[in-house]
């Protein structure tokens, strides 16, 4: 399941997607909205995605993860877009593998690569303005 949605994400539902009888290990990463960024209080976050490129690039990330970890059983990714407040879930990545170590490595590769290549942007809203995250060096 690869999903980009403006509705609240259901973490448990994403985890259920990767259950498999041959998978003894599930690793999941959940990214949530923090109350601050670099010490500056954050009020809200605004996410936008370029669909369908985001889904296409997400497919590439999953394909590359499967190429590197051929024993991967199942993968599920859900990313939220729209306006999020503190504590809201922005992204859920879950993988299942036969053994433990691979589940950590594959999940970490997947979220790291997603953050580098999938065209999603976020704008942080502070008390006194907003800023596009990572836009400038």
């Amino acid at each position: 399941m690869l999903e980009i949605s403006d509705q609240p994400l259901d973490v448990a539902a994403v985890l259920r997607q990767v259950e498999a009888p041959g998978a003894g290990a599930v690793n999941a990463f959940v990214g949530t909205v923090r109350n601050q960024a670099g010490g500056r209080p954050v009020r809200r976050l605004h996410y936008e995605a370029y669909m369908p490129m985001a889904l296409r690039q997400l497919e590439h990330v999953v394909a590359e993860t499967r190429r590197r970890w051929p024993m991967l059983q199942a993968v599920a990714v859900a990313h939220r877009v729209g306006t999020l407040v503190i504590g809201d879930v922005a992204v859920v990545v879950a993988v299942s593998t036969p053994h433990r170590a691979e589940s950590f490595a594959a999940c970490q590769f997947l979220i790291d690569t997603l953050k580098q290549t999938v065209p999603i942007w976020k704008r942080e809203e502070y008390e006194d303005g907003t800023e596009w995250v990572a836009a400038h060096p």
Binding site: R56, I111, K115, V118, P119, W121, K122, R123
Partner: protein, 91 residues
């Protein structure tokens, strides 16, 4: 009509979709631009950087053609879906 004004000699128009900070820099969510003289992604970059100097200050800038990241030497076609991709920040 002079030959220069014939429709066949006018450069094709490209539509470039804008996201994130590039939409703020340009002030609109898409741009209509003439096909660059060399017909490549690199030519499009040159046009955009000349018109919007603020793009040079970004940490990175990519062009996507039909949902894939493009190289500067890739050719552009009038019906391609073209987008400017500023630094991504998902997750």
């Amino acid at each position: 009509m002079t030959p220069e004004s014939l429709p066949a000699t006018q450069p094709a128009l490209l539509t470039v979709l804008l996201f994130g900070i590039t939409r703020d820099i340009v002030g609109q969510s898409s741009l209509s631009l003439p096909m660059p003289a060399d017909g490549t992604v690199g030519g499009l970059f040159a046009t955009l950087r000349a018109r919007y100097p603020a793009l040079a200050a970004l940490r990175s800038l990519a062009v996507a053609v039909n949902s894939e990241y493009a190289f500067e030497t890739d050719p552009l076609h009038p019906h391609d879906e073209i987008a400017l991709i500023p630094p991504v920040a998902g997750g």
